[in-house]
């Protein structure tokens, strides 16, 4: 009989809101247990309360004004009743947390090795020198090359993947029995994500650690845990072995959540609907010829885009995938005219493009920061129309109202402000703004990567529908291979400023030619836990042969 590591019973967490005695319930009667050495995944969309549960395990709500009820026992310690000293022993010593967004999760002023040593000393009472040596050992264990030297680096000198490894090293430094990982791979590229998940998996096998993995990505959970807990609006909806929850979800919400997850092997529903077939005889809407753009000062110049040619026709969607730094965003900006190429040429409808035109529009990644918070969304949508010379207020309002309805909002929303909308709704506003001047091409730069899967599915469906209705051309830039597969007719794979492979979606995804494409595809988490182990070993082989 294994020992119970985590025992949560009827946990409820309430946060105070502006009013004096008003509370909002973030977690509602959640119960679960986790045995020693087992792994539990908590999945749910943003606002489902999954991170709040994780924080409650370490008593991190203490002193924040939040109200907790129910019991939380971790490694035999009653978190609610623990003395401050017992709580500090629990934090890190028994259960260590691996945080999300690794850039801001480490102290920017201190060397990484010193930060790990500090945490280790608290729990072991080791000497300064011994703690420092321990920090180097754990950094080495998580795969930081030349750990002794790199331990003296500051967080900004590490890449995103290395910072995530450093955070895992910090957790290991205290020899905990439980790892709590809160979205440990959300900010990372797929190949790096796969490496981090493999690392967590290896550590569990090696040390018999328990793992509580909090994530919005069902695929990430499928690869890494034994059991799954699905949360929605603060409640636990469904819990069971990962294979059975994924294969036969009991709850309608779980089924909807799973259906919305873009998959590499699922049906490409949005593309199979009838629509005007891309006309291959007409001149392309946008054409790029040998585009090149460098950044940086003399001596340290880096070519973000190093000679890219492509063409997109009316009614067609070209997907561009690549990891961070591959130059895909710079390419998108050059197509729109926001960035001028150093050499090469962009043609719009056969004629050389001059600056920004109303015929080519852009939808940005972050729907929060790409809308002016101090102007109503109606004014924001009307901006491109005003820029195109429209002055009649009544006509503007009518056109904006029409656009709002087309993207699934209401005409009456004209005078509302961005903060009154959800993330998905704000992205709809962004799309309406791009549609306003009746463009022939819209370049979407990571339009859904900040959204939950269900919202993602709605937004991609909207883009497909708008394309069918108006025959516009789309360039869809994303790091998520599954999303790109779902929305695109053709796909271009970018790496280090070049397109390494381009072709129809089925061809590129089913019969990839370039080794880089194959590596990207092998790194995408799937929804089948049984395949995960298989892919994990094939990745290790690929790494060994590389």
């Amino acid at each position: 009989m294994t020992q119970t590591l985590v025992e949560v019973a009827d946990l409820a967490v309430e946060f105070p809101v502006d009013g004096a005695d008003a509370y909002v319930r973030a977690v509602d009667k959640v119960s679960f247990t986790l045995e020693e050495g087992r792994a539990l995944g908590i999945v749910g969309e943003s606002g489902s309360g999954k991170s709040t549960v994780a924080a409650a395990l370490l008593g991190l709500h203490r002193g924040t004004g939040a109200r907790l009820s129910g019991t939380v026992r971790v490694g035999g310690t009653d978190v609610a009743a623990a003395t401050p000293a017992a709580l500090r022993r629990l934090r890190g010593g028994t259960a260590a947390m691996v945080f999300q967004d690794p850039l801001s999760s480490l102290d920017p002023y201190l060397a990484i090795g010193d930060q790990i040593a500090e945490v280790h000393r608290i729990h072991s009472g080791a000497s300064r020198r011994a703690a420092r040596a321990r920090a180097v050992r754990v950094l080495d264990r998580v795969g930081i090359a030349d750990a002794a030297r790199r331990s003296r680096a500051r967080p900004h000198e590490f890449s995103g993947g290395m910072r995530q490894r450093a955070l895992i090293a910090m957790a290991l430094a205290c020899d905990p029995r439980l790892l709590i990982a809160d979205e440990p791979t959300t900010a990372l590229d797929v190949t790096v994500q796969a490496q981090i998940l493999d690392l967590l998996h290896g550590l569990r096998e090696e040390r018999g650690l328990g793992l509580l993995l909090v994530t919005h990505d069902v695929g990430v959970a499928a690869e890494s845990v034994d059991e799954l807990l699905v949360m929605r609006d603060g409640s636990a909806l469904e819990r069971g072995p990962v294979a059975s929850v994924l294969a036969a979800p009991a709850e309608a919400y779980t089924r909807a959540l799973l259906a919305a997850v873009p998959r590499l092997d699922g049906p490409r529903a949005s593309r199979s609907l009838p629509g005007p077939a891309p006309d291959s005889s007409a001149a392309p809407v946008v054409e790029a010829v040998e585009l090149r753009r460098e950044f940086g000062r003399r001596g340290r110049r880096v070519a973000a885009v190093a000679g890219v040619s492509l063409a997109v026709r009316a009614g067609e969607t070209l997907g561009i995938v690549g990891e961070s730094g591959s130059g895909k965003s710079t390419l998108g900006r050059m197509l729109v005219g926001l960035v001028q190429p150093d050499s090469g040429l962009v043609r719009h409808g056969g004629a050389p493009a001059t600056g920004i035109t109303s015929g080519v529009q852009m939808v940005f990644q972050d729907p929060v920061s790409s809308l002016n918070p101090r102007r109503s969304i109606g004014e924001s949508i009307a901006d491109p129309l005003r820029a195109a010379g429209e002055r009649d207020e009544a006509a503007l309002r009518a056109r904006v109202g029409e656009l709002l309805e087309r993207v699934g909002l209401e005409a009456g929303h004209y005078d509302r402000y961005p903060h009154e909308f959800s993330g998905g709704q704000r992205q709809r506003v962004g799309i309406a703004r791009a549609l306003a001047p009746r463009p022939r091409l819209i370049v979407c730069d990571e339009p859904v990567s900040a959204l939950d899967v269900t919202t993602q599915a709605q937004v991609t469906a909207l883009l497909a529908q708008l394309q069918r209705e108006s025959g516009i051309a789309l360039v869809f830039i994303a790091h998520d291979l599954a999303v790109v597969r779902q929305v695109s007719d053709r796909v271009a794979v970018m790496r280090a400023g070049r397109i390494v492979e381009e072709g129809p979606v089925d061809q590129v995804y089913d019969r990839p030619v370039h080794p880089y494409t194959r590596r990207l595809l092998a790194a995408v988490p799937g929804l089948d836990p049984e395949q995960a182990a298989q892919r994990r070993s094939s990745r290790q082989e690929a790494l060994a042969t590389a």
Partner: protein
């Protein structure tokens, strides 16, 4: 690093050149006849004209300025009347209209007193100001913090000469713990130097401390809300270590930046404190020179202050880059 020094030096020379032009221009717009003032009450018009000739005031403004630059780079000769010629080596800031003393010498004799005052005050505001700020951050929400907030507000609201006067009256007149301060150079008697400067240091230091306490407290609290603090809290790091080892670093940048400006200003701007405690510093020299339209002294002291501000700024940038490795020197 070489690049940084070269760039900063070039920038500093431009700033100082501009400063000298501005002071010269202002001087010719200002009322008052330097020759009459230099000659004294009993001079007749003839003598005044003679003095004017000697001082080179008959030349055009531009020519006078070019002479000044020439003296700065190569040195120059001054006629002191009766065929006497005084040579002034480069860098020559000219001779005082009033005393014929070389301005460079004048500044060098006054600078130690000013530096003594400013460095001591700097030490006090860093110690007391930053210390108070950290203490407020540690005891946030408690009675200690509220008490400190009241004190710092009172400190900010009290004019510096009132604070100095109160200290002087309390310590020297009422309690008689110290004699009334007179300036003793460090080279003469270090112990007397420190005792005599104690009250001026406290006056300036405490006055500035209030500002530093507020900045330290707010920057520390701001950092305390950042994500990396949550990381260390989740690893069992205690509240005190969170504040003193991690959060307080957020205050380093603003405290350094502000200290540089304040220190630079204090080289010429601590007139009130210097006058109150009888310290023969640059601020007092400048005010006296302005009163009698002693152009070379005014220009010289202003340039000295300018140099101090520029150097303090460069040192601040170096310290800042050392404290936060993300900052690149440029």
């Amino acid at each position: 690093m070489t690049r940084f020094v070269l760039k900063r030096t070039g920038g500093a020379l431009l700033v100082l050149l501009a400063l000298s032009v501005i002071v010269y221009s202002l001087f010719y717009l200002a009322p008052g006849d330097p020759a009459r003032l230099a000659c004294g009450e009993r001079c007749n018009p003839q003598q005044i004209a003679q003095v004017r000739e000697q001082l080179g005031l008959n030349e055009s403004t531009v020519a006078q300025y070019l002479h000044f630059l020439q003296g700065l780079v190569a040195g120059r000769d001054h006629s002191a009347g009766a065929g006497l010629v005084l040579h002034c080596d480069a860098p020559c800031l000219g001779l005082s209209y009033q005393t014929d003393q070389q301005v460079t010498d004048l500044i060098l004799t006054r600078l130690p007193a000013t530096l003594s005052l400013a460095l001591g005050a700097l030490a006090i505001w860093l110690l007391v100001g930053v210390g108070t700020g950290v203490l407020s951050a540690l005891r946030r929400g408690g009675i200690t913090e509220r008490l400190l907030t009241v004190l710092t507000l009172a400190g900010t609201g009290t004019p510096v000469f009132i604070l100095g006067l109160l200290l002087l009256m309390a310590v020297c007149a009422y309690l008689q713990w110290l004699p009334f301060p007179t300036y003793v150079p460090l080279t003469e008697d270090p112990e007397q130097w420190a005792w005599n400067l104690l009250l001026p240091w406290l006056t300036l230091g405490l006055f500035e401390s209030a500002k530093y306490a507020r900045i330290t407290r707010s920057s520390t609290l701001e950092t305390l809300a950042e994500d990396h603090i949550r990381t260390f809290r989740a690893y069992g790091v205690g509240e005190r270590a969170l504040v003193t080892r991690h959060a307080v670093r957020g205050a380093v940048a603003p405290v350094i930046a502000l200290s540089a400006v304040d220190f630079g200003t204090m080289i010429g701007g601590a007139v009130l404190t210097e006058s109150l405690f009888g310290i023969p510093g640059l601020g007092k020299t400048l005010i006296d020179a302005v009163r009698v339209v002693d152009l070379p002294v005014v220009v010289g002291v202003v340039l000295a202050i300018g140099t101090a501000v520029v150097v303090a700024g460069a040192v601040a940038d170096l310290l800042y880059a050392a404290a936060d490795r993300r900052v690149a020197l440029a």
